[in-house]
Symmetry: C2
Subunit: 149 residues, 2 copies
């Protein structure tokens, strides 16, 4: 088993604002992918993230602790992602709201996992920019990192 | 043990050019940190990467396969980094020169590892930008990702 880990710090924000960016459809659509639908603010809700034309992910919300913790389980998407889990831990550290991100449960460190690690980092930077400036870089206007986009 | 993985693709480049960015002092200084000194193009050489005012890393070059593979072992730096290894595997995939990056041998997934994962992704994007545009974002002009810089 292998995990993807990331840490970002958002300046001049609050745990409440970061939690909103992780648990509202408008928030998620403003940093990950504009094509976001479903129920993101309730345990057992399912959120559909799509990245036309290549597909996407369905996430079941498995745990929500306001302003502090969000957990998802991947219920549909690429085979490597199914049943992996994604967590966001939010806390305040001086002037920064810090997000610890973990995508765990990958069975093998396949090349696609290397790609997803870099891509997650880039999307988390999109969330940071969204909260700091009001404008993120969600798909389809995300930062291209390679031939796999 | 836990690993940091990343994958980037550099457009309109070659494995030779990417290898140069990984094995020359001028190349490394143009995407990771401007304060780079030492011997980067010979096995058993040691490269000093510094990030004033916070310190840095000494890397022993452990393996070099021209245009294809670079491996380093951390011989000095933060305690979590000592004896970890860093590898770059370079290959061509259509129009993109692909780099698979691995920083392995972390004993524990401490918060600093989360930070270094995101930071490595950002620096690899700096290498991509350097090779695509001629200008990277090495320290001290690197992209700030958090209160830990």
């Amino acid at each position: 088993m292998a995990d993807i880990l990331h840490r970002i710090g958002v300046k001049n924000s609050t745990p409440e604002k970061v939690y909103d960016a992780l648990t509202t459809i408008d928030g998620l659509a403003a940093w990950w992918t504009e094509d976001t639908k479903g129920t993101s603010d309730t345990t057992n809700g399912v959120v559909q993230f799509r990245f036309p034309p290549v597909g996407g992910f369905d996430m079941e919300v498995t745990k929500l602790t306001p302003s502090s913790h969000v957990a998802w389980r991947v219920v549909d998407g690429p085979p490597e992602w199914i049943d992996t889990t994604i967590t966001f831990d939010v806390s305040q550290d001086d002037d920064y709201t810090v997000v610890l991100f973990k995508h765990e449960g990958w069975k093998e460190p396949v090349d696609f996992m290397y790609h997803c690690s870099t891509k997650w980092g880039s999307y988390l930077m999109s969330m940071k920019t969204l909260l700091e400036t009001g404008k993120g870089a969600p798909a389809p206007n995300d930062v291209q990192i390679s031939n796999w986009h």
